[in-house]
């Protein structure tokens, strides 16, 4: 297990006041909140911040953490000394505010995990918790519908009332026409009910695996299609890939880069279906042979072309 320096995570000195801890957390939390930040590491950073703050904002936990000493550095191998928390009494609560705990590091779990557990003695019959998970599918799955195995790790209460992480694999039917950001509700696949209460539901948020060629925006799908300059200038009939297979596209003469050709109804299926937009780009042939350079020279003489002329005035 690796030691975690929670003060370093929040960027505050060990002697920081509770207000300073809170201030540092708030500022960083706004910056790295996964719903707000586009930083690819945002989610991981945000989790670390939350864990650090959960300890440092709580005077009892902070005191217990502090008595481990300041000689530890993040990433060092670490085992909590036996009886390290003797004499500290944690009030508990406040954990698993997210509904499902189990999101903290091993380090945190080893130190503070146990008292976050149990104690949740709800009424005898209650509906199980609704669970949420994200599932990545291919764009093609949205076009055709698919059957996907979805692996989930879910916190479950065992017979002793402790939270354990369990792996589940579900075989889920992905309906045709589903879009990124939508949710699938799987009735009765959430947390088990208490007593005779029914199980909760499982909500799967759909996201697409990134695709080399296609990008989806709602029901519409975009494709960049490179053309040779002469194809764009003279018009051409070219093969273009679509998620449903290649199509033959007519490029109108005088096409410029950035021009969009709309293939109506060829986006994600539905009522109405989305459209497929082919965004034209123009690839410049390399001047890497004498004949290619000659062709450019010939064109330079033949065509009165002032690419910067229209930028003036």
């Amino acid at each position: 297990m690796k030691f975690k320096d929670y003060y370093e995570t929040l960027g505050v000195p060990r002697g920081a006041t509770q207000d300073e801890v809170k201030h540092a957390y708030r500022k960083l939390a706004r910056k790295y909140h996964p719903d707000v930040s586009k930083d690819p590491d945002a989610e991981a950073r945000f989790k670390e911040l939350g864990e650090a703050y959960a300890v440092l904002k709580d005077p009892e936990k902070r005191a217990a953490y502090d008595q481990m000493g300041s000689q530890w550095k993040t990433g060092q191998d670490f085992q909590p000394p036996p009886g390290w928390d003797a004499g500290f009494e944690f009030s508990g609560g406040d954990f698993g505010a997210a509904g499902l705990g189990g999101d903290h590091s091993d380090f945190f779990e080893a130190l503070f995990g146990r008292q976050a557990r149990g104690g949740q003695r709800a009424q005898m019959h209650a509906q199980g918790q609704d669970h949420h998970a994200k599932v990545l599918i291919d764009l093609a799955d949205a076009y055709h519908g698919a059957r996907r195995s979805v692996s989930l790790r879910m916190p479950m209460l065992d017979a002793q009332g402790r939270v354990t992480m369990q792996d589940r694999t579900l075989d889920v039917s992905i309906p045709k026409g589903v879009r990124a950001g939508q949710h699938l509700r799987l009735a009765g696949q959430g947390g088990p009910g208490l007593g005779e209460g029914p199980a909760g539901d499982l909500y799967l948020e759909i996201a697409f695996n990134p695709h080399a060629q296609f990008r989806a925006d709602g029901r519409d799908v975009y494709l960049d299609l490179p053309l040779a300059p002469w194809e764009a200038a003279l018009g051409a009939s070219v093969a273009a890939p679509t998620p449903e297979g290649p199509v033959q596209l007519t490029i109108p003469p005088g096409s410029v880069a950035g021009r969009q050709l709309r293939l109506k109804g060829r986006g994600i299926p539905g009522s109405p279906p989305g459209d497929l937009y082919v965004v034209l780009t123009i690839a410049l042939p390399p001047a890497d042979s004498e004949s290619a350079r000659d062709a450019y020279r010939t064109k330079a003489k033949a065509v009165d072309f002032k690419p910067r002329a229209q930028g003036k005035g």
Binding site: R26, A29, R30, H33, D35, V36, F46, G50, A97, A98, G99, Q127, Q129, D130, H132, R147, Q166, D167, R168, T169, L170, D171, V172, S173, P175, G177, V178, R179, G181, Q182, H183, L184, R185, L186, A187, Q189, G200, D201, Y203, L204, R215, D217, G218, Y222, D224, G258, Q260, Y277, V279
Partner: protein
């Protein structure tokens, strides 16, 4: 531990919440583990816009689930009050529209 009965795997069909589902107040609270009082405040602030006269008749569109969960995360993680949450959601919506426009222009 895997709850997977080899050889006899049942295919689970779900419904697309945004298309096929309308949620009652109780269902929405259950689906995002939110207190009913909080959802009522969000309705007042315009974060959620149910149809129907009074809370027992309210029906929330499927997209309300995403909005409610987002609102819950923002208010919990950043300790933002309901009117701040409403403002943040409006701004996030606007950013999403602008990002989509950028993508359509091939810039995004």
């Amino acid at each position: 531990m895997t709850i997977l009965n080899q050889g006899k795997v049942t295919l689970i069909h779900g419904s697309v919440v945004e298309e096929d589902v309308q949620l009652t107040l109780r269902e929405l609270c259950q689906a995002c583990s939110a207190e009913q009082e909080l959802v009522l405040v969000w309705v007042v602030e315009g974060v959620l816009e149910p149809v129907g006269e009074s809370p027992p008749d309210w029906r929330f569109s499927g997209d309300s689930l995403r909005r409610a969960r987002l609102a819950l995360r923002l208010s919990r993680d950043l300790e933002i009050n309901p009117s701040g949450v409403a403002l943040a959601l409006d701004l996030l919506d606007e950013i999403a529209v602008l990002r989509a426009r950028l993508q359509r222009l091939g810039v995004g």
